[in-house]
């Protein structure tokens, strides 16, 4: 852990400084975690809910945070779990599979005022939505966010070798999908 991160964690774990330190933590990570969640749940309002729940969970569990892992990977893990829980809950409520939930969310993307992607960006999102959940995560985090495999390995609890092969499979499926669905 970096010294800076270490002092932030100790402040977060001290009752008198917790609130101030938490404010710093939120401002440091809000955007990164927002975009991480957004790529999974796609809609802005849903992302806002999941992001807030993620920070609430971080606030509640910070006392249990152990210095063995990095604060940042620990927070990403919580955000990832919260996003998956959100999708699964929605699937359960609608009595459909989580893949169907994602297809449904993708179909709404076209009319989403907060999606200003071009046709090819929309197509890329459609292609990503066809991947299994874990491959989606790996692809998004590697392609859009530039995490290292070592960071991903800690966040997703998967070996670097496994991540690399999943990324290659994801890339293959995505390029195949784009080719198959090419227009004009």
């Amino acid at each position: 852990m970096l010294i800076e991160e270490q002092s932030l964690v100790s402040a977060l774990q001290s009752p008198s400084q917790k609130e101030e330190a938490f404010r710093v933590l939120v401002s440091q990570y809000k955007e990164r975690l927002y975009w991480h969640i957004r790529k999974m749940v796609l809609d802005h309002d849903d992302t806002d809910d999941v992001l807030q729940n993620t920070f609430i969970k971080i606030f509640r569990s910070i006392d249990n945070f152990k210095a063995e892992s990095k604060l940042y990977t620990w927070m990403y893990r919580i955000a990832t779990n919260e996003s998956i829980t959100f999708i699964n809950k929605r699937a359960k409520r609608a009595q459909i599979s989580s893949e169907e939930v994602q297809q449904d969310m993708i179909s709404k993307l076209e009319s989403d005022v907060y999606f200003e992607g071009s046709e090819i960006q929309l197509q890329l999102q459609r292609a990503i939505a066809t991947l299994p959940q874990k491959q989606q995560l790996i692809f998004n985090m590697k392609y859009f966010e530039d995490h290292t495999y070592e960071e991903l390995s800690e966040i997703l609890d998967t070996s670097v070798g496994g991540l690399k092969s999943s990324y290659h499979i994801a890339v293959k499926k995505i390029t195949a999908y784009i080719k198959e669905n090419e227009t004009g």
């Binding site: 401002s27 957004r38 992607g117 071009s118 929309l122 890329l124």
Partner: protein, 167 residues
């Protein structure tokens, strides 16, 4: 390639099939280069500005106590699942009594297909049908809300035999 074999063995190894898949992987990555690096998602203007306050307010509103999850619930769910499965099997036999005739007529492949498609299709959705909302909520809490650290703490605090952690 045999003829390109180096003069001395260097001792390095490449993973099996690495060179076979190399072009494939490389061309896929090249194709990816043509795709946009931006996702196209936008946020409402000023969304991030007030987020610290919104979240802090929410944190203060939330009840402080964390939910205590009874240790037995998991077992109860499994009991209910087994009972449900047993009942389902019983009904299968009552309403579909074995057809009289030569069982040997049924090809083995068909029996296998039946097992694959029908029995294995008793999935979480079917299970969800026989459980109440409360029980499902409980399942979700168990599966998703427990942090590894919490579980570890619980085990360390409540078990006398720490060797279980090695498992």
């Amino acid at each position: 390639m045999e003829d390109n074999k180096e003069k001395y063995e260097h001792g390095f190894k490449a993973p099996e099939g690495y060179f076979d898949k190399f072009e494939d992987n490389l061309f896929n990555l090249l194709e990816l280069e043509d795709l946009p690096k931006e996702s196209g998602f936008k946020v409402p203007e000023g969304y991030f500005d007030g987020l610290e306050n919104t979240i802090l307010q929410k944190v203060k509103e939330e009840p402080k106590e964390t939910k205590v999850i009874p240790l037995f619930r998991r077992r109860v769910v499994w009991y209910s699942a087994s009972v449900a499965a047993a009942v389902a099997l019983l009904f299968t036999f009552i309403y579909n009594p074995p057809v009289e005739g030569d069982e040997e007529d049924i090809p083995l492949a068909e029996i296998e297909a039946y097992i694959d498609q029908d029995i294995a299709s008793f999935d979480s959705y079917d299970l969800a049908q026989v459980l109440t909302d409360e029980e499902l909520e409980g399942l979700e809490i168990e599966n998703n809300y427990l942090l590894d650290e919490d579980l570890e703490d619980y085990i360390l605090d409540n078990l006398d035999d720490p060797t279980i952690l090695i498992e």
